[in-house]
């Protein structure tokens, strides 16, 4: 670690070491740029992985009062457990506020690798049906880029990360550079065949950032199951053991852990940043790191929080915010609808010693596509994630020896759950809460978001349609959910520093570069113009590699 960072002016200061920050550090470091990589949390070691620890070794078997006390928000996510809760932020130290009646759950990790340590790993490309959706249905704004601009970068990311999946030729879900797909269960194969026959829709195996063969020095998945507790064979993609490792190996990247960035610093020259200021997480010392370019990869809301906390005389409402869009158009995929049931015709005897596939199935969006008619009640659409397998019947009725037997006899379950597009709306926004600070004295966010009528209509349709699909597959005892969960539950926060060609309506240009401050970049989900309905991390990484390509070119031309 650098002892006196002010003696050095780095070519680039990258804030955040997760999925996108890791890529930025790798890309720039390997191109020969001197990079400072700042992470708010500590480093992580494979020694703390717990994926092979049975729950009976936990004192509270995942009902720890310490998690309840210190992570009341974080534990709303299944991945925050008694095993690993220290990876998640302490909610007492990291507050945020919401207006009355507008709850929002914000899941955060401050540790090397960030949320890439616990992410869901589903990896899907967007298509021009997403990038150019506004031009098709008239709502919102198109992205300043199209699929052809991003496709080569999707290729780069997929080849490096290792995405297992099946090619489908689906108009809404472009195929990519896939490792061999994981297999489907019997119930899933039947669902796929019958949904295609009856509705013409595609059911495919989930495209996931988990290796199905050894790849780039990492081992194939050994199917133990709980990826969110770490992976001793590094089979799922997480940045500390891939991109960050490469960045450090380049010899051009210096890692600063425990560096909680408070704001971006401006140079005496107008519209130019000179680096960032951070608070040492452990000592509370305030320090500065200087760079010719600043790249925020801190997670959508955190990156925008840093900009909102970087106001100057020229930019009183947040840095690089001359157009006023900073903080607005917050999105998070709408969830809360789907269906579940039983497939009684399949073998029900579950086996505790079967390999656990850490992946499900995926139904790409089929509403409002170029080949389907426009839906009368909503625009855009949703995709399903789900699965079918034999499981132990913990809801068996009765008691006694017959109950023990019924649990082991099990049942064959099937389910689908929707992820719907969250429309970009000006009135979903974040701002600084002047009365609330985090444990490092940095002003905290106030998050104002609701899902609207279109999202509710999507979920209503998604519940009923999932039931239709399960019925076609032969399911019995079908149960439907058609609600709208609180925003944040999808953990796909997007927007608040959107891209665009018009500086009056956007914060960043098509290369994730601030319109107002040319050596300032935001390379994470904050840059999204629309949410589409696909899991966004793959697109965030591809955008980052593309933006870094552009930045390297400008460095070589001497423009930065």
């Amino acid at each position: 670690m650098a002892q006196d960072p002010l003696q050095t002016t780095y070519d680039a200061v990258v804030v955040g070491s997760g999925a996108t920050g890791g890529w930025a550090a790798k890309q720039l470091g390997e191109a020969g740029l001197k990079v400072a990589l700042l992470e708010a949390g500590r480093a992580v070691s494979p020694k703390e992985f717990t994926e092979h620890m049975p729950s009976y070794k936990l004192k509270y078997r995942d009902h720890s009062p310490e998690v309840v006390r210190t992570r009341p928000v974080q534990k709303q996510c299944y991945a925050c457990m008694e095993y690993n809760y220290e990876w998640f932020v302490n909610d007492l130290e990291n507050p945020y506020s919401t207006p009355p009646g507008k709850p929002f759950t914000w899941q955060r990790l401050r540790i090397l690798g960030g949320r890439s340590l616990v992410w869901g790993r589903q990896s899907y490309r967007l298509s021009d049906n997403d990038f150019k959706a506004a031009g098709r249905d008239g709502y919102g704004d198109d992205w300043p880029i199209g699929y052809a601009d991003l496709a080569p970068y999707y290729d780069i990311v997929e080849r490096y990360v290792g995405i297992s999946g099946a090619t489908e030729g689906n108009e809404m879900l472009p195929d990519g550079q896939f490792l061999p797909p994981m297999k489907m269960s019997c119930g899933e194969v039947q669902l796929r065949a019958r949904v295609k026959a009856k509705f013409g829709h595609t059911v495919t195996i989930g495209r996931t950032a988990i290796l199905t063969q050894n790849h780039n020095g990492r081992l194939a998945c050994h199917y133990c199951g709980p990826c969110e507790r770490g992976c001793s064979t590094f089979s799922y993609f997480s940045s500390p053991f891939t991109t960050v490792k490469d960045a450090l190996a380049s010899g051009n990247c210096t890692l600063f852990t425990n560096a909680v960035v408070s704001h971006v610093d401006m140079d005496t020259e107008p519209n130019k940043t000179r680096g960032v200021t951070y608070v040492d997480r452990l000592t509370r010392q305030v320090k500065e790191v200087r760079g010719k370019a600043v790249i925020l990869c801190a997670q959508a809301l955190e990156s925008t929080r840093i900009l909102l906390n970087s106001s100057t005389r020229e930019y009183p409402n947040g840095l690089a915010n001359s157009g006023g869009a900073l903080g607005h158009y917050l999105m998070d995929h709408v969830v809360g609808a789907g269906a579940s049931g039983r497939l009684p015709e399949f073998k029900t005897l579950p086996n505790a010693n079967e390999p656990e596939r850490p992946n499900g199935i995926y139904v790409p969006r089929f509403r409002n596509t170029p080949s389907s008619k426009r839906h009368s009640r909503f625009i855009r659409g949703y995709g399903y994630q789900g699965g079918a397998e034999a499981g132990f019947n913990f809801s068996a009725e009765g008691y006694g020896a017959s109950l023990k037997k019924a649990v082991k006899e099990g049942e064959y379950g099937i389910s689908l759950g929707a992820f719907g597009e969250s429309l970009a709306r000006w009135d979903n926004y974040i701002e600084i809460d002047r009365d609330l600070k985090d444990a490092w004295g940095i002003p905290a966010l106030r998050i104002s978001m609701t899902h609207g009528d279109n999202e509710a209509a999507l979920m209503e349709d998604a519940g009923a349609t999932a039931a239709e699909m399960l019925e076609a597959a032969g399911a019995k005892d079908i149960r439907v959910q058609a609600g709208v969960e609180m925003p944040g539950m999808a953990i796909h926060e997007l927007g608040t520093a959107r891209m665009g060609n018009d500086p009056k309506k956007s914060v960043l240009n098509a290369f994730n570069q601030a319109h107002d401050v040319k050596n300032l970049f935001v390379m994470d989900g904050a840059s999204f113009v629309s949410s589409a309905c696909q899991n966004p991390t793959l697109t965030m990484m591809a955008l980052t590699v593309r933006a870094c390509d552009h930045l390297i070119g400008r460095f070589r031309k001497g423009e930065i």
Partner: protein
Amino acid sequence: MKRRDLIRGSVLAGAAAALRPSLAAAQSVAQQPSELTPAQSGVDASKDLAAPGWKPLFLDEHQNETLIVLSDLIIPATDTPGAKEALVNRYIDLVLAAETPETQRTFLNSLGYVDGESMRRFKAAFRYLSREDQDILLHGLAYPRIGGGWAGDTGAVADPGHGHFEALKGRIMSAYYSSQIGEKELGWDGAFAHGPYQGCEHPEGDHK
């Protein structure tokens, strides 16, 4: 070498190969033991409940004994150990001791309901009933009630007893199947990997 050891061996080799010196050095500087969960620090709490001299933290003696009797009825020893051997009462007591007063009250209310019904019908607390009477009482609670049927009314009726039974059964089942005995009951061999996922290998349309 057991399969589990094999995996662990390959795991550590992989970890060593993955960590170049620069990252490893940064990690050793920043590592804060206090910032690991007990699990991440390698703490194994699986023997805690069997400690000699165990005493309940939350339940009184009668409640604890009632819970033992009830759990033994709901998940009895058969050809495999049951809830009593799995010390289900001790785990439930531990969790309840850390719960909110409201959750504690809800649990005690359910346990008290069983004793209340027992006193009303058999004039004795549940734990003192004969096995036969315990079964009569539990069978009346274990299944949801519907209307009389003679007048065509077969809909569900308000049934607090079944709700209390389900709440107690849920806690007992969760405690049993998360114990080491419970994992064995489900047939788990103790290994964490069992080869690649095979999926469906049947011909299209024939999954029998």
